[in-house]
């Protein structure tokens, strides 16, 4: 399992350099445009984790992982472990940058980038927790998509999307993100984070059940 995580990290550019570069680029664009015009740039890093999950579980990493003696289960566990660990790190990065942004009055330019209304706007540890859970959820959710695609192809993917209730976690996340009517007025951010964490566990179990008979 640890070996699978190390196997994914054999090319660290995709886990370290690229997401940080994207983040820096979006931040720069945001700053150049005056700071307050496009605040959803941070969402891209969440999308990145989703795509990463799809690619790692559904792409070409599984076949070679199995050749190196991993089982489907250990591959799944190792990949998820890596995604969750990376989420922990990136959550901390977001929380840290948010703290700096707050302390410097928006980097001295009134830029709002790492502060997201309702969702990521509390103390640093709340931001860390919420972004950690959000990134993890999207990563394992992406993994499940990748596995469904590997096992049943495009038709399976369509069916997979169709059976999910419209208020799936991605939608809920996007809705609360933009601040347009949260999931429920009485639900606090930490409450939402708890719901997301529970969903993540369900998704993990679902993906685990799906990969068992995936062909390579």
């Amino acid at each position: 399992m640890i070996n699978v995580a190390r196997y994914h990290l054999v090319q660290p550019v995709l886990f370290v350099t690229l997401p940080l570069a994207i983040l820096a680029f979006l931040f720069a664009v945001n700053a150049a445009r005056g700071g307050d015009t496009w605040r959803d740039g941070l969402a891209v890093i969440f999308l990145y984790f989703f795509i990463m999950g799809v690619q790692r579980a559904g792409g070409r990493w599984l076949p070679f992982g199995l050749a190196l003696g991993a089982t489907r289960r250990s591959f799944y566990a190792g990949t998820a472990l890596l995604g969750v660990s990376m989420s922990l790190v990136y959550g901390l990065v977001i929380a840290g940058l948010q703290a700096i942004e707050r302390a410097t009055g928006g980097w001295g330019l009134s830029i709002t980038f790492f502060r997201v209304p309702y969702l990521l706007n509390g103390p640093w540890y709340a931001t860390w927790l919420t972004s950690f859970v959000g990134l993890s959820a999207l990563f394992v959710y992406g993994m499940w998509y990748g596995i469904v695609n590997r096992r049943w192809g495009m038709l399976g993917l369509l069916a997979f999307v169709a059976v999910q209730v419209p208020a799936g976690i991605a939608v809920a996340f996007a809705r609360t993100w933009s601040g347009v009517g949260g999931p429920h007025p009485s639900l606090s951010v930490l409450g939402l984070t708890g719901v997301l964490a529970a969903l993540t566990v369900v998704i993990l179990a679902g993906g685990h059940a799906t990969i068992r008979r995936a062909t390579v």
Binding site: N3, Y7, Q11, G59, R60, P63, F64, A67, L68, G69
Partner: protein
């Protein structure tokens, strides 16, 4: 158990990374990984470690698979037709390196191949599968000299093969060619020579062809070989 297994297959799919990445990934999956062996094999096959795997030729990709399979020194090594796109010289390199490394570090190696005679010398055990059915399962040493073609004048052939299990009989005018099962003793050879008969042991490949063709004969052969 699986952690000690390496699988090298003909159509292995690799992630979009370089040769050195694949080697590094393999190196921490196998405790007995031999980096020196890996780099010397890649050098033999003229595969550069810095090259992207998708930019490799078919043969180079096979060479990479072979390199990983051998350098892993896993307890169980599975080679599933590992040499697509490799020429005869490169295949010989594979056989030589496999034998040398196997001699130094004995372990279980399972090699599936269609190039039977070429690889015949490597085997300790031979299993032939035809359309999902095992038609032959025997120790390679037991198979050598186990099946012989006797050819010559019909009468002489008939007298020589009388009482022996016969696999196949072909006649062409006054000449006959009969495939018999069982060891041929020195006395037998003497007798064959005096009768003017030719004795030719079947190669493993010919044996396999016949075993796939007639399973009844193969069954009796299997029994004999195991006995």
């Amino acid at each position: 158990m699986l952690r000690r297994l390496v699988l090298v297959r003909e159509d292995q799919v690799y992630p979009d990374f370089k040769v050195c990445h694949a080697l590094r990934a393999a190196s921490f999956c196998y405790p007995n990984w031999d980096a020196g062996l890996a780099s010397s094999l890649l050098k033999d096959y003229r595969v550069r470690a810095g090259k992207a795997i998708k930019g490799l030729s078919r043969g180079q990709r096979s060479a990479l698979g072979i390199t990983i399979g051998l350098a892993a020194r896993a307890e169980v090594t599975l080679f599933d037709e590992p040499y697509a796109g490799l020429d005869a010289v490169a295949r010989q390199v594979f056989y030589d390196r496999l034998l040398a490394d196997f001699a130094a570090f004995p372990r279980t190696v399972l090699l599936s191949t269609h190039l039977i005679d070429e690889a015949a010398a490597l085997f300790e055990n031979v299993v032939v599968i035809d359309r999902g059915r095992v038609v032959l399962d025997a120790a390679a040493d037991g198979l050598r000299g186990m099946v012989t073609t006797v050819s010559g004048p019909v009468l002489a052939v008939d007298s020589f093969t009388a009482g022996r299990p016969v696999w196949e009989r072909r006649g062409l005018g006054s000449q006959a060619s009969v495939v018999i099962v069982g060891q041929v003793s020195g006395d037998d050879r003497e007798r064959a020579r005096s009768l003017g008969l030719d004795l030719t042991p079947l190669s493993l490949q010919q044996l396999v062809v016949r075993a796939s063709g007639r399973s009844a004969g193969a069954d009796s052969l299997t029994e004999r070989t195991w006995a």
